[in-house]
């Protein structure tokens, strides 16, 4: 029975990653249309009709989804990618060419395993904590480890493309992910120092009064640093130097098509969701609805409510990231590097030391 609970928890984490990534895809397509004063995807499925009375309600929902562009962005695009030609460049190893998208996706999805999603509860005599890898010591460090591993997919993709645009894109991506991993690590170090634990569940529990970001000025700065470097890790505008189409075609994605291309895309959107989730869990109170209004643990009703409260906050941060992506122009490369090495990193270190002093004084 415990095994079945574990399988359900793993499926929940996996489904959450996939669902949030699909949601972000839809917001990206339809939301960008709103921002740019276009109409956006609104045709596929929008005019479906039937004469069978029983099916009419379903067709109504189908038409609604079609008007909203959900069918176009999720169903049609996925099918199109599946039926496209899988092009492997000449002289490249087809094994490595197929391996690269998986190496991009797997670490991001694995990171969802350590995230707690709701307060623990008792049901049918079982004590359940909605967190797939709750036994693990050092949840926050696991996130950093998976972030470090996600470089492989990009590097390999650039190398296997066997042309200079792919290679330039991969080198840019690797340098960028490396540079922004350090401020992110320092920000998370500050977080570990303030909470006194590496366990994400305990972090959320200790935010039942004040949310993390209000605990001290250092936590506010750490939150900012984490958000900026998290956005840089997702390699999207304003940090999309690795695939800036005006300079290097599509960067490391140049030689990818069809479903393999879509897997990179999926990894990118799952990363957006991951950054939002960690942001909410560590800095914005997790499943506690408001500051000083906490959700009690123990009952399954509270756990169910906790999932939805957490998700609504996560959706806010996903939409925020996509709005930033469609609002700001791209950085120049030296600006990108200066921001990390000469800005965020120093601020992060000073912040870490002041957080230590604050903790000693308190």
């Amino acid at each position: 029975m415990n095994f079945i609970i574990l399988v359900l928890e793993v499926l929940l984490a996996f489904g959450l990653a996939l669902g949030l990534a699909s949601f972000c895809t839809w917001v990206e397509r339809k939301g960008s249309a709103l921002i740019q004063n276009r109409i956006g995807a609104n045709r596929a499925g929008a005019f479906a009709e039937t004469n069978v009375l029983l099916l009419k309600p379903f067709y109504f929902g189908w038409r609604l989804l079609g008007r909203l562009g959900v069918i176009n962005t999720l169903l049609c695009d996925g099918l199109k990618a599946l039926f496209k030609e899988d092009f492997v460049p000449q002289g490249a190893s087809s094994f490595l060419h197929a391996l690269a998208p998986f190496l991009a996706v797997v670490p991001v999805f694995m990171a969802f395993a350590v995230l707690p999603l709701a307060p623990e509860f008792n049901l049918f005599g079982y004590h359940i904590r909605p967190q797939a890898a709750s036994f693990y010591d050092g949840g926050v460090l696991f996130l950093l480890a998976m972030g470090a591993l996600s470089v492989y997919g990009v590097l390999l993709a650039g190398w296997v493309g066997n042309n200079k645009f792919s290679l330039l894109g991969a080198l840019r991506a690797a340098a960028q992910m490396f540079s922004y991993e350090l401020p992110m690590g320092v920000a998370l170090g500050t977080v570990i120092l303030v909470y006194g634990t590496t366990d994400l569940y305990q972090m959320v529990e200790s935010q039942s009064g004040l949310w993390g970001i209000m605990k001290s000025p250092m936590m506010f700065v750490a939150g900012l640093i984490f958000f900026v470097s998290g956005m840089a890790q997702t390699k999207r505008v304003p940090f999309d130097l690795p695939e800036s189409e005006a300079e290097i075609v599509a960067g490391y994605l140049t030689e990818y098509s069809g479903m393999k291309f879509l897997l990179f895309w999926l990894a990118e959107f799952a990363e957006i969701a991951l950054v939002s989730l960690v942001m909410v869990l560590v800095f914005f109170g997790g499943w506690h609805p408001f500051p000083f209004v906490s959700l009690p643990s123990g009952s399954w009703q509270a756990a169910l409510a906790g999932h939805f409260i957490l998700l609504s906050k996560v959706v806010f941060f996903c939409v925020l990231q996509i709005t930033i992506r469609w609002t700001l122009p791209r950085f120049r490369y030296d600006q990108l590097m200066n921001l990390s090495w000469k800005g965020l990193l120093e601020v992060g270190f000073v912040n870490l030391i002041s957080a230590a002093a604050w903790k000693l004084a308190a």
Partner: protein, 167 residues
């Protein structure tokens, strides 16, 4: 759990052999990454979660990635690699056997004392490693930090552009 151990041990050994026997340096680097990840899995099975994560962050996540970047910069084309000389393989086997002969008596004395029962379960946790680093080994820890700082300054000095030499 035993099945998992044998699986990880098989991956560690086979990828270790692959690191030294594969022709393409890129494939060797990838096999090394797989090897380090499997070793991290072995650490995690011993409840040494922090060691496992440090293994992934530092070795698989940083060092092998740097090796990969160096390979990308040096050989951007997919190239054919020439055959390795045979005498090198013979020398490697002879030296390896000699090393084993030296190592074997030591291992024989040490191995029976280690069993699943007397391994300290808390040895690899975040709290325990932090306590050791900031109490018993604090000076060595600081010295290691100083060493890394020196190496960092050295790297900056070497890579710095000098006046009159351009770029």
């Amino acid at each position: 759990m035993t099945a998992l151990f044998w699986l990880l041990a098989f991956i560690v050994l086979s990828s270790g052999v692959a690191v030294v026997s594969l022709r393409s340096p890129l494939n060797s680097a990838l096999a090394l990454a797989l090897n380090l990840l499997a070793v991290a899995g072995l650490f995690a099975m011993l409840q040494a979660h922090f060691l496992a994560l440090a293994q992934v962050i530092v070795y698989a996540g940083a060092i092998v990635v740097l090796v990969l970047i160096a390979l990308l910069l040096l050989s951007s084309k997919i190239e054919q690699h020439k055959r390795r000389e045979d005498y090198l393989a013979v020398a490697a086997i002879v030296l390896g056997s000699l090393f084993l002969v030296v190592l074997f008596p030591l291992l024989q004395g040490a191995l029976p004392q280690i069993s699943a029962n007397n391994v300290q379960v808390t040895a690899g946790t975040v709290a325990e490693i932090g306590r050791l680093l900031f109490t018993d080994y604090v000076f060595l820890f600081q010295l290691a930090g100083l060493l890394i700082l020196t190496a960092l300054c050295g790297a900056v000095m070497l890579a710095r552009s000098r006046p009159g030499q351009g770029g």
